[in-house]
């Protein structure tokens, strides 16, 4: 489902920094994978490359067999729009939009009819147990509720790939546990490929596979 072939990502500046070095990796369809490692090991960079948010300096990334290298900006956006759902540590909900509008955002961007968007957004908010909060603004929600909305948004198109960057990093342990349970449940029910970047080893251990990064390279790749 996700193929990385000798991917290197260097950041240019006064001092060049290599965030990832010749990483090759394949993640199969339906896998639940965690990526762990210390700060600066390249976890988020790897996730950004998998999600088409960033481009490698060298090497190639392919999603569902389609190489991202030759795609323009809009091409990459279409891949994200049609195949990938993102969950961010800080939720990245748009503060001025209601829960319903935030969840419907990707669907509107795909040009869905308003009624259809509405129905799907309600369905997803109910799925994440926020059916009673549809017209609330993000600032009116707790951290856990915000992350649920973010998950509902990530799932709005029922993407084959779900990428989560520290989804519990900004939540207390109990809420974090609930969110993970939800991701786990959705993974099983929807059969999506899920990649979670985390610092939390307990989170990592709940995944079928854990990839450990250190200094921009894969240190360990454990399957359970």
């Amino acid at each position: 489902m996700i193929d990385l072939d000798r991917v290197t990502r260097q950041f240019e500046g006064k001092r060049n920094v290599t965030a990832l070095r010749e990483v090759s990796l394949t993640i199969a369809k339906g896998d639940l994978v965690s990526i762990v490692g210390p700060s600066g090991s390249g976890k988020s960079t790897l996730l950004n490359l998998m999600g088409g948010l960033d481009r490698p300096t060298t090497g190639s990334v392919a999603i569902d067999g389609e190489s991202l290298a030759n795609l323009g900006d809009d091409g990459l956006t279409r891949v994200r729009r049609d195949k990938i759902g993102f969950i961010f540590q800080f939720f990245n909900l748009l503060p001025t939009l209601s829960c319903l509008e935030n969840v419907g955002l990707p669907l509107h961007l795909r040009g869905w009819a308003r009624r259809k968007v509405h129905e799907r957004a309600i369905e997803l908010l109910q799925l994440v147990q926020l059916g009673h909060r549809v017209h609330h603004l993000p600032e009116e929600l707790s951290g856990g509720e915000r992350q649920r909305v973010a998950i509902a948004r990530a799932l709005s198109i029922y993407p084959p790939i779900l990428l989560a960057d520290e989804p519990t990093g900004n939540l207390d342990t109990r809420t974090g546990g609930d969110i993970l349970a939800l991701i786990d449940d959705l993974h099983r029910r929807l059969g999506a490929t899920v990649v979670i970047v985390t610092h939390d080893l307990q989170v990592a251990e709940r995944c079928q596979r854990t990839i450990t990064l250190r200094d921009g390279g894969i240190e360990q790749d454990v399957r359970r």
Partner: protein, 850 residues
């Protein structure tokens, strides 16, 4: 200063574009201020220097307005004990009959005496003739030209050139060419000298002179000579220094001066809002930097000083740029004022040199820096009050607090009441103008609140248009009212000015059209010059009878009009056959009895005056007025007040018999011709032209042609509106680019999220475009609302202080409709670059946290 170097300079370097845009606000304000005032000064300077050049060594001038006077007056003046030399002068504007050369001012002078007053400084001449004035005088076709005019037309001494005179085209022989300095440089060289007695004949003046130029005897002061002449000549004559004509000219341009001041004030206000916007945004964006400074021990006043110093530096740079741009603009504006003013002399009053004073430039610099500092006062105060702890936290800090809104509303309500009282209670001029200023301040106070309310109101519409892009664009406006409202306020002010001026133009146009339709209803107008405002060529009275005898003509009305000084102001005398006028073009009086006023005026027992003169001079029907004339003082009651736009400063309408008695002048400027039912304008026009072919210079204008001419002149007066529209568009672009540049920085993460979840580049662009168009829409709505109020004040100013014209309040819907696409397109254009920069940003960086 150290803080300025350490903190401000790096910020400026990082935000070069924004700094440039901010500075452009002050550049714009100062440029409009300098440009308009310099243009005005330049035209006045050019006029005054023209008067000086023509006057030569003349110390005093005797005149009777434009009407001229009997040549016997010369003997009285020459006989005065205080007068050393007195020379009669006739001024006539003639068609140079050369393409692109326009009109020529011909000075008819008495060559025997004039050379002691004016130095002709000949470059080339038929010396024998010039040296002997009697020979020049004996040859009635002699003319002297300036070198500039001669060179432009390939003329030299003894060349023959044709000029359009009252007697038709006549050939003149060039006897001398004057060097291009002093007298010869007046009117850019479009000046010629000929013998006065030849001029009387050529320009249909009979035995009259326009004025007498004189020099006093040694040891006699100008005041002494003036006093003696006034006693000798009576009140019908003006005895004044040549510069007095400049003052009259200044009085005539006063209306333009007031409009210039209002435009300048608005331009500075607009500049102030652009600066305020920039500094309010800077304070918001540099909040954490301010927090660090405060945490490190900087005091609140140090932070305030830092921002005020930044604003002063911005103001200084912007003002210097504004001075340069203003002086450039002045040249173009001066040319347009000069063209408008040509009806004073008939020859375009060119301002070849830009006259500016160090005082004006110094004032502009001070105003620019001062405006900038005043604009930054509130943001600087906010910066000084930043709490170091809160400043280092993330959060929303652009929201207008409910308390702030309440304070604004209360201030607006209080000032609004005072403003209404200033207008409602009839009081002095300063109170009225204070009310006007307060009304603008109220609008500015309400601007942010109204912008917020409107932003909320248009959100459903935008969301309906584009569910994501539209909603986000509206939300961006709602979330950052400070960012939005200053741009909207600048645009609002700009559009309010355009709307009010356009409304004034439309109202004036309607009133003038109404007057033209009611008064100028003859079928044909017969004039001695193509340019109907030129009154220096005239017909003899007898021509009226000749015209009446032509087939197809039912009625002929003689009209003599000329400016005279009435209570120190130039007003127009319109003398005609009032009884006939009452039958053909009766007007409803503003004051007076509709038939009685015509009867009394026709019988020489009364006068009619224009509505605007009545208003400016505080006159009413029944008031007795005194009009000084060469043959005595006319003392008659005002029989009626009517709407008449013969002159901007007002007009006095009297029967021709009264005029002839008091001015001893029966010449005619225009014949108004009514045709028989079976005659055609074309046939009669041809008949008139053939009757006078080779004998007289005659121009026949149809009713439609005269109407077009008047409306074209009216349009020229309101040409200023187009400059203001250009400024409005510039303000819209400047403000919107500024706002969007910041909006994109503020919304970087939001736009990043949009892209991350599938927003295509087109969709990102659309949200920026929609935001810009929304700002444009808010500016339009508020600008039209303030414009509607501004129009009321402008009309009041015109009625009270400028032309005395009572104009109907008509909102300029046509201009408003035309402005909608102009501003929306400008907003869209302004958004193009910011939208591209939003699309190009790095997605990963946008989603990163600080």
């Amino acid at each position: 200063m150290n803080l300025l170097r350490l903190i401000s300079w790096p910020y400026v370097r990082k935000h070069v574009l924004r700094t440039v845009l901010t500075t452009a606000g002050i550049v714009l304000g100062v440029a409009v201020f300098v440009g308009m005032h310099t243009a005005n000064q330049s035209v006045l300077f050019a006029f005054n220097s023209t008067v000086d050049r023509i006057a030569g060594k003349t110390e005093l001038q005797v005149s009777a307005g434009e009407t001229g006077f009997d040549e016997a007056v010369l003997e009285t003046v020459q006989g005065a004990a205080t007068v050393r030399v007195a020379v009669p002068v006739i001024e006539a504007v003639v068609d140079s009959q050369r393409e692109g050369q326009g009109n020529l001012l011909v000075l008819g002078t008495d060559m025997t005496g004039d050379r002691s007053l004016r130095d002709y400084d000949l470059e080339d001449a038929d010396e024998a003739i010039i040296d002997d004035p009697l020979v020049f005088l004996a040859q009635a076709d002699s003319i002297m030209l300036t070198k500039a005019f001669a060179d432009r037309n390939g003329l030299s001494v003894n060349s023959v050139m044709t000029l359009g005179t009252a007697l038709g085209p006549r050939a003149f022989t060039v006897r001398g060419i004057m060097k291009s300095k002093g007298l010869a440089s007046a009117f850019g060289g479009n000046l010629a000298i000929m013998d006065i007695y030849a001029a009387q004949r050529m320009f249909g003046r009979g035995r009259t002179f326009d004025r007498i130029d004189l020099a006093t005897r040694p040891g006699v002061t100008i005041e002494e000579a003036g006093a003696e002449l006034r006693t000798l000549l009576g009140p019908g004559f003006q005895v004044d220094v040549p510069a007095g004509r400049g003052q009259q000219f200044q009085a005539m341009t006063a209306s333009y001066g007031i409009m210039v001041s209002i435009s300048s004030l608005f331009a500075l206000f607009i500049g102030m809002f652009i600066i305020y916007n920039a500094f309010a945004i800077a304070v918001t964006q540099r909040r954490s930097e301010i927090g660090i400074l405060r945490a490190l021990g900087a005091t609140g006043s140090q932070v305030r000083r830092l921002f005020l110093l930044e604003s002063a530096a911005t103001g200084l740079v912007g003002s210097l740029g504004g001075l340069a741009l203003g002086l450039l603009m002045a040249r173009g504006i001066a040319a347009s004022i000069g063209t408008i003013m040509q009806d004073v002399y008939g020859v375009a009053q060119r301002a070849d040199e830009i006259a500016t004073s160090p005082a004006l430039l110094g004032l502009a610099l001070a105003v620019g820096v001062g405006t900038s500092v005043v604009a930054a006062l509130i943001p600087a105060g906010q910066a000084a009050r930043v709490d170091p702890v809160q400043a280092l936290q993330k959060g929303r800090y652009q929201v207008l607090s409910a308390g702030e809104n309440r304070a604004r509303l209360m201030a607006a309500a209080a000032l609004g009441i005072v403003s209404v009282l200033c207008v409602a209670v009839p009081t002095s001029r300063p109170v009225f103008y204070a009310g006007y200023l307060l009304a603008i301040v109220v609008a500015l106070l309400l601007g942010p609140i109204l912008a917020l309310v409107l932003s909320r109101a248009i959100r459903p519409l935008l969301k309906w248009l584009r569910p994501v892009e539209g909603a986000l664009a509206a939300d961006s406006l709602i979330q950052a009212p400070r960012r939005t409202s200053a741009s909207v306020a600048a645009l609002m002010l700009s559009l309010a000015l355009v709307t009010a001026f356009a409304g004034m133009a439309r109202a004036s146009y309607n009133s003038i059209l109404d007057w033209v339709n009611g008064t100028l209803n003859p079928d044909l107008f017969v004039s001695p010059s193509q340019d109907v405002v030129t009154r220096t060529l005239r017909f003899p009275a007898a021509m009226g009878d000749e015209l009446a005898a032509l087939p197809g003509i039912e009625r002929v009305q003689r009209v003599r009009n000329a400016r005279i000084l009435f209570r120190g102001t130039p007003v127009m005398i319109v003398a005609t056959d009032i009884a006939s006028l009452a039958e053909t073009a009766p007007r409803e009086p503003v004051e007076g009895h509709p038939t009685e006023m015509y009867r009394l005026t026709a019988a020489g027992q009364g006068l009619m005056i224009s509505d605007n003169l009545a208003r400016l001079a505080g006159l009413h029907a029944g008031d007795a007025i005194e009009i000084p004339a060469p043959a005595g003082i006319i003392s008659l009651p005002i029989a009626g007040i009517i709407v008449d736009y013969s002159d901007q400063q007002g007009s006095i309408i009297m029967d021709q018999a009264v005029y002839q008695r008091y001015w001893r002048d029966d010449t005619v400027n225009v014949f108004r011709i009514y045709l028989r039912d079976d005659a055609t304008a074309d046939a009669v026009s041809r008949s008139i032209l053939s009757t006078y072919a080779g004998e007289r210079q005659v121009f026949v204008l149809t009713n439609g042609e005269l109407r077009d001419y008047i409306l074209r002149v009216t349009d020229q007066w309101f040409g200023l509106t187009s400059i203001q529209i250009a400024v409005a568009v510039f303000v819209a672009i400047l403000g919107i680019v500024n706002t969007l540049t910041v909006s994109i920085t503020d919304r970087r993460r939001e736009l990043g999220v949009l892209k991350a979840v599938g927003g295509l580049r087109g969709q990102i662009r659309r949200t920026i475009w929609l935001e810009a168009i929304s700002i444009g829409t808010l500016g339009l709505v508020l600008g039209f609302a303030l414009g509607a109020l501004n129009l009321y004040y402008i009309l009041q100013i015109i009625e009270r202080d400028i032309a005395g014209m009572r104009l109907d309040y008509v909102f300029p819907f046509g201009t408003a409709l035309a402005l909608v696409p102009v501003i929306l397109i400008a907003a869209f254009v302004a958004a193009l670059w910011p939208a591209e920069s939003a699309v190009r940003g790095s997605l990963v960086e946008a989603l990163e946290y600080e």
